[in-house]
């Protein structure tokens, strides 16, 4: 059996000008597992995902999917399904048109479009312009697009944004079934309760660096299994450290 992790990120680094947005970030996602990528706004989660998917150039380290960089996958659209930035939906197109275009781009059969629209609960709205959709409906279109190629890996950036309770339940079941079927999921979210429901492991990033990683069970044991307490404690500590580092360097500058 192939033991290569579905996703493997090692020593990832991204620098914008004089700012290091991501620094030495490492994690792996084995097949059949869901990894929650957590962190405050601007921590470097989305940048890490973009580097993993070949959308942003890597300044250091490696990001592999099934042992290869994303750009070297034979059929990227059939291997990885991704949701980023609410899916890049044109407001004038319909959901059906959007999915057909995505199928054509990935060289996929358009026969999965209608079943996926049904699965996402969009059949009746499928021929309406996307500009008439709510945020939650747009997320459903983006998720349906991610599933189009029947991928073995999902990379989802804030997929629960705007979903109603039924949509949240649908997403939760979708991710659990996906992982149960051997798929690997990298999920970024601020909804910690949802992450606690679906994730097996978590990585917490603060200010571009990994502040904590491991299985949810092990990491939250000290906090009675409460992910929110663990997360807030960890991010507050990192923030304090960063503030004191800043004060020290400013003082050094004064001297």
């Amino acid at each position: 059996m192939d033991n290569t992790p579905a996703l493997a990120v090692r020593g990832l680094r991204k620098i914008y000008g004089h700012t290091t947005a991501v620094d030495d970030v490492s994690f792996t996602v084995p097949r059949g597992r869901v990894l929650g990528l957590l962190g405050p706004n601007g921590a470097g989660k989305t940048t890490s995902m973009r580097m993993l998917l070949g959308l942003a150039h890597i300044d250091g380290g490696q990001a592999h999917i099934h042992g290869r960089p994303y750009a070297e996958l034979e059929n990227p659209a059939r291997t990885v399904g991704a949701v980023l930035d609410a899916g890049g939906l044109h407001p004038g197109r319909t959901a059906r048109q959007h999915l057909r275009i995505a199928a054509a781009m990935g060289g996929m059969d358009a026969s999965r479009v209608d079943p996926l629209l049904a699965e996402a609960g969009l059949t009746t709205a499928a021929d309406r312009p996307i500009r008439t959709y709510s945020l939650g409906m747009r997320q459903r279109v983006a998720l349906a697009t991610a599933l189009l190629g029947n991928p073995s890996v999902l990379v989802l950036d804030e997929p629960a944004n705007g979903l109603d309770p039924a949509g949240t339940r649908w997403l939760r079941d979708l991710l659990l079934n996906f992982a149960a079927g051997g798929g690997a999921v990298l999920l970024s979210s601020h909804v910690l309760a949802e992450v606690a429901h679906v994730a097996d492991d978590i990585v917490v990033i603060t200010e571009g660096r990994v502040a904590g990683s491991g299985s949810i069970e092990a990491l939250t044991a000290e906090y009675g299994g409460d992910l929110e307490s663990y997360y807030l404690n960890l991010t507050a500590a990192s923030s304090d450290r960063a503030s004191s580092d800043r004060v020290s360097s400013e003082n050094e500058g004064v001297r």
Binding site: A56, L84, G92, R100, I101, G106
Partner: protein
């Protein structure tokens, strides 16, 4: 990617608006220039309006020069001093192909499907070329119909040989495709739709102004001023060579400029973070 890019084009209203503006713009321009103006100059319409004939001058609808101008697919009548509505619509078509993906974030999905990125631009070039060529065929049909209408409804007879008509139309189609690809390249380089339209607008308006200034200061139009995109397009479609350039050289130069812009767009697309 070709099929996907065609689907993208077909499913946005702005594409159809650009195509409609091109077709209606040429139709109105050609009907005005090829039928109404000669009729006014000849007194068929408005009769002997005082001063009108002198102002318009004699228009010989049976001359080769006039009939060649009727075959101009961009409705500029071979004049490099004006910018036809069809010219703007054709360049706008290319800009829309190049920028719509960026405007709504669709470039991310496109890059996920084609992570090596060069095929993205190849697909857009193919889709733009096909759509611009289809538009050019419609524009050619309009030009031919207006010319035939002129021949049928006036005493003038067809003065342009069929082979030359086909040659003129062929060069017109090539010019339309090249202008659309130039718009695509600029759109892919600039990325912002508004900025791309402003850039192209400045280029279209600035070119004749630059030529005018160059002529004013040097006394004659310098050779370099002929190698500007709109001038090259108009010389490429013209029936006779200008003093310096033949239509073939003009089209070759326009193709070279377009190739440089598209290559720059490919390089930046490959290097940029999305």
């Amino acid at each position: 990617m070709f099929r996907a890019e065609l689907l993208k084009l077909r499913t946005v209203t702005s594409t159809w608006v650009a195509l409609a503006v091109g077709v209606i713009g040429l139709l109105v321009t050609q009907v005005l220039l090829v039928t109404l103006l000669p009729a006014m100059a000849n007194g068929t319409i408005l009769g002997d309006e005082p001063g009108l004939r002198e102002e318009l001058g004699a228009i010989d609808t049976g001359s080769q020069a006039f009939q060649y101008s009727a075959l101009n697919l961009l409705g500029t009548g071979g004049s490099s001093g004006s910018i036809g509505i069809a010219t703007i619509a054709v360049v706008a078509l290319g800009i829309l192909v190049g920028t719509t993906d960026y405007r709504h974030g669709g470039i991310v999905g496109t890059a996920l499907a084609r992570p090596r990125r060069t095929p993205i631009l190849v697909g857009k070039v193919a889709a733009t070329s096909a759509t611009a060529a289809a538009l050019a065929v419609v524009l050619a049909a309009i030009s031919l119909l207006v010319l035939l209408l002129l021949v049928w409804t006036t005493p003038a007879s067809l003065a342009v040989p069929i082979v030359d008509i086909l040659s003129s139309v062929g060069r017109g189609i090539l010019t339309v495709v090249l202008l659309a690809l130039l718009g695509l390249g600029i759109g892919m380089l600039v990325r912002s739709q508004l900025a791309a339209f402003l850039t192209v607008g400045a280029l279209l308006v600035g070119e004749p102004m630059l030529q005018g200034l160059a002529q004013l200061f040097t006394g004659s139009l310098p050779t370099w001023a002929l190698f500007l995109p709109v001038s090259l397009a108009y010389v490429g479609m013209a029936d006779a060579p200008s003093a310096v350039l033949s239509p073939a050289i003009a089209l070759g130069a326009l193709a070279a400029i377009t190739a440089v812009v598209l290559t720059a767009a490919t390089v930046t697309l490959r290097r940029r973070d999305l």
